[in-house]
């Protein structure tokens, strides 16, 4: 699996994403600067990592979402190529129109930084084939703007088409309530594109890949991507 990790000014999780990808695939990902017009030849997967691109100016992900490289990412996705956006990367994918909806300020205005359980909604996608359906995984969250919002028609479509990837849960698998760390509609922690080849998620699976960090539940996502057939033209 050939992965390209995008770099915008202000991102800070690119190293974590690269470590997780290399651990799963054995191949070092290529770091791609935002001003580039093209992705490296043969890219299977584009990862937009977390951080604070452009200092979160205007809106989180708004400026990065319009960068040169995002046109290449759009073309890659249209060809069926895989795209993963984590945290600020999710915000960037929403702002660039690759995913529906928007991430608003957390409901209680607090930056939330903690371990977080998620329920894996389905395991028949390139991102989750190493998990079981409805599996509860422990990863972490670190964000101030993770409150997923979309109009009611969009939410109904996402739910109807099975495009919710993860929901916030507690360790017993109870969805929502206190487990919903930011007020997201329907406890949505991650969503897929229409063709299931683009995933955006607020939590950080790339930080739970080493027992030293308190768990390895994040590994499954990267190992799923390695197992997923390359579909990009």
């Amino acid at each position: 699996m050939r992965a390209a990790v995008l770099l915008f000014p202000g991102l800070n999780r690119e190293g974590d994403a690269m470590r997780a990808l290399e651990q799963a695939s054995g191949v070092k990902p290529i770091l791609v600067w935002h001003a580039e017009h093209d992705l490296p030849a043969g890219t299977d997967l584009v990862v937009v990592p977390g951080g604070f691109s452009y200092g979160d100016y205007l809106r989180c992900g708004a400026i990065a979402g319009r960068a040169n490289i995002m046109n290449a990412v759009r073309t890659h996705a249209e060809r069926g190529g895989l795209v993963l956006g984590i945290c600020n990367g999710f915000q960037i994918l929403c702002e660039s129109g690759l995913l529906p909806g928007v991430l608003m300020r957390n409901k209680d205005l607090k930056f939330v930084c903690r371990m977080q359980h998620l329920r894996v909604e389905r395991n028949d996608t390139p991102f989750t084939n190493r998990y079981s359906r409805q599996q509860i995984i422990k990863v972490c969250v670190a964000h101030g703007e993770g409150n997923y919002v979309a109009d009611p028609e969009t939410i109904a479509r996402l739910e109807g088409e099975g495009r919710v990837a993860f929901r916030y849960s507690d360790f017993n698998g109870n969805i929502g309530g206190e487990a919903n760390c930011n007020g997201s509609i329907n406890d949505i922690a991650g969503v897929y594109s229409e063709r299931m080849n683009v995933l955006g998620m607020m939590p950080h699976p790339e930080n739970l890949i080493d027992p030293m960090m308190g768990g390895i539940d994040g590994r499954g996502l990267f190992e799923s991507l390695v197992r997923a057939p390359a579909r990009a033209a």
Binding site: A62, I63, V102, R105, N106, D108, V149
Partner: protein, 79 residues
């Protein structure tokens, strides 16, 4: 030509920052403040002479960047 673009949250979209400001105003014992919604103002200088053209460019700017129309409305004023 000068212009002002005002971006506000659509009705019904939760605005926790506005709520916090509303609470702060209440704590100042200011009377009659029923609610607060926070928005953004952009002051722009344009080289266009034709107001209609300027209006069109600004609409484009709002749709493409200044506002996220999923949750925000915008208003353009040519000053």
């Amino acid at each position: 030509m000068k212009a002002r673009v005002t971006v506000t949250l659509k009705t019904g979209v939760l605005d926790p920052q506005g709520k916090a400001i509303e609470g702060a105003l209440r704590s100042l014992a200011l009377e009659g403040v029923d609610s607060v919604r926070q928005g953004k103002v952009f002051d722009l200088e344009l080289s266009h002479e034709d107001p209609a053209r300027a209006q069109a460019v600004l609409k484009d700017a709002c749709e493409k960047l200044l506002a996220n129309t999923v949750v925000e409305n915008y208003r353009i004023e040519i000053l």
